[in-house]
Symmetry: C2
Subunit: 273 residues, 2 copies
């Protein structure tokens, strides 16, 4: 693994896209696979990187809504970006990620320059995610080898679970519908708005904590990036409060090392069968 | 006002669309105006009605994400619906609402048949919106005449505000960032999934309760319709927990008369200047 000054992190290497005429090309690497599919948050980071390239004056995702059309597989991917409104403080685009003729992911997104937004009025009544010290949490590196092979995605970051919310790993879910963890990308790659698009879909499905293991396909995921994250560890939390009709909503909050709520997301997902 | 058996409610009359070749036509009526623009939730109901017409096997919105591109005005509108995936339990489309050459609203949406979804596993830990009896709440009909003229939208329904959360109307906002109310469409039109798309954007901006009156333009609104609402009054609640960067998130919950959480939405909006 390459680290050190000047080295490119695996995350940056893997979300890279190149412009080819009217579209962008990239590759969904096998390392981001979960079972037969590729993690939806990672797809969003790669697609989000293409949008950033298409909008030089608006480098950061502010609001992104993703609809997952068909399961992505490891291999080449193409991103098309279509501007809907540009100019001013924000720009809005439609974008699709395709493999061959199949749309994997269709997105609407508003981008802006988070550093240029006013920073003097922050009123957050949401309460930060509280986690025990990292050496008291349960590391993803402890996962069994068969999990690591089935889901190499889980090895792209350090994830240190709240010890009270990881009972599902040993068949004792809490039943509360909450999973939280410390989070840091491999290579100590610092968080940024594009990485947050992956972070909001990085934890296991919150249904694990309800005693429903198994894949929970995302129908729709909308994320708001509310500030550039400070360097260091992130804290992530998944929660659900409404399981019904064979679906559940999953809210994610991402807090940075400066105790700022930097991203909020909600997805609608299918209950595992 | 037409009422009685067989009468068409104003909501149904106003969201009506007709198919014209490859697109749908409708009209944004002046009655749904707020200041110079047309309420975003109403636009979504009209557009959502066109999607319903385009997807006869999938009549109900399940997840809808709307990006507001330019302010809509009273007058004719056109809706284009482009299928992304059809067949199976749900279908996903992209749709745009245009006036002339201008896109007002661009949407991604997943539709299904809510009545056909499994109903045996409902686990809602969210707590219902609690409101005093309706005769102890503050009715929207009490609004000054100049408000009714500026925002005829507010007269399309009965809205009975929680008396502790309506101080903004007399210059005494609570500062908590919460507004809740009883809600019922004019003509006693019963709630359904399309009406919920309007209901999630019907309350005043929650920033009123933070002492920030004024228009709060929606950047993005995503709504999940989780069940067909039971007949009768709805309870709506807006909340915000994170004001930052000149934006705020606004969560809406809609509870029906059977105490079911039938819709959840979140929007990102611009703070009033």
């Amino acid at each position: 693994m390459t680290t050190g000054p000047g080295a490119v992190s695996e995350f940056d290497r893997d979300i890279a896209v190149s412009r080819e005429g009217d579209h962008f090309s990239g590759e969904l690497k096998d390392g981001w696979r979960v079972g037969g599919g590729v993690n939806g948050g990672f797809q969003l980071s790669l697609l989000g990187n293409a949008i950033r390239a298409a909008l030089p004056d608006h480098p950061d995702p502010v609001a992104v809504s993703a609809y997952y059309i068909s399961p992505a597989v490891a291999g080449p991917a193409r991103v098309d970006v279509r501007p809907l409104r540009t100019g001013g403080r924000t720009a809005t685009v439609a974008a699709d990620l395709r493999q061959g003729d199949d749309v994997r992911l269709s997105v609407l997104a508003t981008y802006g320059d988070l550093a240029a937004f006013p920073s003097d009025d922050v009123r957050t009544t949401a309460e930060p995610v509280v986690l025990p010290p990292r050496d008291e949490c349960v590391a993803n590196t402890l996962a069994p080898e068969e999990i690591k092979e089935m889901a190499p995605f889980t090895q792209r970051f350090e994830m240190l679970f709240h010890p009270d919310e990881v009972g599902w790993a040993v068949g004792k879910p809490s039943g509360r519908g909450q999973i939280s963890a410390w989070f840091r990308l491999a290579d100590d790659r610092e968080p940024d708005p594009l990485a947050l698009l992956m972070a909001v879909d990085a934890l296991p499905p919150v249904t694990f904590d309800l005693g429903l293991p198994g894949w929970a396909p995302t129908v729709e995921l909308s994320a708001h990036v509310r500030a550039k994250p400070a360097p260091g560890w992130l804290r992530l939390r998944h929660r659900t409060r409404n399981v019904a009709g064979g679906f559940f909503e999953e809210d994610c909050e991402v807090w940075d090392s400066a105790d700022r709520l930097v991203a909020q997301s909600r997805q609608l997902a299918l209950l595992p069968r």
